[in-house]
């Protein structure tokens, strides 16, 4: 078998060294009653070229971004991932390494994580980032846990304009954490700070998204202030791609910044794997879940990096750990670091401006063609919601038949929006493609 070196001669020699006469004998401690007495009911082994042929045919049945012009966003984005990212992620010394518990063997990964932590802190305006969480939804659950421990309170307030999936995951985790979750309705596509102020009394945290799920720019500093006034921790769920043009949450009063890293350096890959990021102020560092890399020196005084404050984690603190997380998303976070290094501060700003310019163009052209924005008076970043005049499900089907996916059906998550689409425009879109979207929608929505 190609992944196993064992020959018959090897086997015989090894069995003799062990002192048993057969491989079967090695399993003598397993009671007969639990043994599987037949082969596994799985299809026969495939040669490598057969695997390729089979998976090629599965892949060919997916309408991916290379074959269908798509304006789908809603939490996962078709941003361009530069070639250098995969060059680096496919290096075996990164790809096939384990968690860096033995730092002398893992200075490459440890330094990369330190650089990633730095990048996240720079983007978000925070003091400390962990080495990544699973995704943008589970870091929200983590943040709730931090807030509970910091404030001693058990209520979480989250805005309705925060991603439905983020809210769902918080609610899944809440019972085990002993948390109650309360939602604040949106007011015309953004959140009213007065409603936050009211709901935040006795809350551990207020979580809001910037830009929000509708693509609208929230009055984030006011939301943070309203939460802080009630002594609830303000927590912002942010789009990393927006942080070249939008201020970082740490600079407008938030205690934690969280988000989904996919748009910054990971291919969409049907939803995963990606990386969630979570960053906070120094005072909360002991409550942070997950790994943290710190700088130190070795016995010769040379700089080196190690996992630090490990006593927060499960392998030491066990049932009192800040989280059970062990395996996280290091390789994807490394992709994020490579990407952000490729962009640099100038590139990140220009990228944000490009997305704003193109999505603004799309919005104007669609409006001119008679498609009314749902939240017409609100500033947006790279996504916006429009009404298409018919059930969106029919419009999407008809548009896809013409080779265009026009966007996410907001009616799946929000009342009264069955005729609304969330249209995302990234730097990969051209004005010609946007014109095509307008043309197709005009044909199918009338």
């Amino acid at each position: 078998m190609r992944y196993i070196a064992l020959t018959d001669a090897d086997r015989d020699e090894m069995l003799a060294t062990v002192g048993v006469s057969s491989v079967e004998e090695l399993f003598r401690d397993i009671p007969d009653g639990v043994r599987l007495d037949r082969p596994l009911d799985l299809e026969r082994p495939l040669a490598e070229l057969e695997i390729v042929s089979h998976l090629d045919s599965l892949a060919a049945r997916n309408a991916h971004a290379g074959v269908e012009l798509s304006f789908l966003g809603a939490g996962m984005y078709d941003h361009y991932v530069p070639a250098v990212v995969n060059t680096i992620l496919s290096r075996g010394e990164f790809l096939t390494a384990y968690t860096p518990y033995q730092p002398e063997m893992s200075q490459g990964v440890l330094q990369a994580i330190f650089e990633y932590q730095t990048a996240v802190c720079e983007l978000t305006g925070m003091d400390v980032s962990n080495a990544s969480g699973y995704d943008g939804t589970t870091v929200a659950a983590d943040a709730c846990f931090v807030a509970k421990h910091v404030t001693g309170r058990s209520r979480i307030v989250v805005t309705e304009a925060t991603s439905p999936q983020v809210r769902q995951v918080i609610k899944t985790y809440a019972p085990g954490f002993g948390l109650e979750v309360v939602e604040i309705p949106h007011s015309g596509g953004t959140t009213d700070p007065a409603l936050v102020a009211e709901a935040a009394q006795d809350a551990a945290a207020v979580i809001f998204q910037q830009p929000n799920f509708f693509g609208c720019l929230e009055p984030a500093p006011d939301l943070a202030a309203a939460a802080a006034e009630a002594e609830a921790l303000p927590i912002a769920h942010v789009d990393p791609i927006s942080l070249g043009v939008l201020e970082g949450p740490g600079r407008y009063g938030c205690a934690l910044a969280i988000g989904e890293g996919q748009g910054a350096g990971n291919a969409m890959s049907f939803g995963g794997p990606h990386y969630g990021f979570i960053a906070t102020k120094l005072e909360h560092i002991r409550r942070m879940p997950g790994r943290i890399v710190g700088e130190t020196t070795d016995v010769d005084g040379e700089r080196g990096f190690v996992l630090t404050l490990s006593t927060r984690e499960q392998h030491i603190r066990r049932e009192k750990a800040t989280s059970n997380i062990t395996t996280n998303q290091t390789l994807l976070a490394l992709g994020g670091l490579v990407y952000l290094s490729w962009l640099g501060p100038q590139g990140l700003r220009e990228l944000g401006e490009t997305c704003m310019a193109l999505s603004s163009y799309a919005r104007r052209e669609l409006e001119a063609a008679g498609f009314v924005p749902v939240f017409s008076d609100k500033a947006t970043f790279k996504e916006f919601a429009i009404r298409v005049g018919r059930p969106a499900v029919d419009v999407v089907r008809a548009a896809r038949a013409k080779g265009v996916h026009p966007g996410y059906r907001l009616g799946r998550d929000y009342e009264g929006l069955d005729d609304a689409l969330l249209v995302a425009v990234t730097e990969k879109r051209t004005t010609e493609q946007i014109d095509r979207l307008v043309e197709v929608l005009s044909e199918v929505a009338r």
């Binding site: 490990s310 006593t311 030491i316 603190r317 009192k320």
Partner: protein
């Protein structure tokens, strides 16, 4: 610089590696040489609040090294009179001088009779030898 192994005769010991120096109706508490040696260099001390009640056999706080967290098990019951702030600021004092400058809290005993149930230095040393 870590201390060398010792178990002073004038102290009483709890099998969870904590000591008590009894002085009338009060006692000073800390962890033994064996405890600090097992933990390694201490980096953090989480003390109880002054005025808090503690019970014999129950945890009153935590110490952490780089690789371990340990509950501090109280040899006696009583009320916390003082916390050694110097150890909060510099936990490694416990490694350097576990019975002197590395003391952790001072308590007023609520049941002085409990002290009789604690181990002598000789009995504690025997327990430690069996663990090695």
């Amino acid at each position: 610089m870590a201390a060398s192994e010792s178990y002073p005769e004038d102290l009483r010991y709890h099998p969870e590696h904590d000591w008590a120096r009894v002085d009338g109706g009060e006692a000073t508490l800390g962890i033994t040489w064996f405890a600090q040696d097992s933990l390694g260099d201490l980096v953090h001390y989480e003390p109880p609040a002054v005025g808090a009640s503690i019970s014999q056999g129950a945890s009153y706080g935590e110490v952490e090294s780089v690789k371990a967290v340990s509950d501090l098990i109280s040899p006696v019951s009583g009320e916390v009179l003082e916390v050694n702030q110097q150890v909060v600021d510099e936990p490694e004092r416990v490694n350097d001088d576990p019975y002197g400058e590395g003391w952790l809290i001072r308590v007023r005993l609520s049941d002085p009779g409990e002290v009789d149930g604690l181990l002598s230095a000789a009995a504690y040393k025997q327990l430690v030898d069996e663990l090695a």
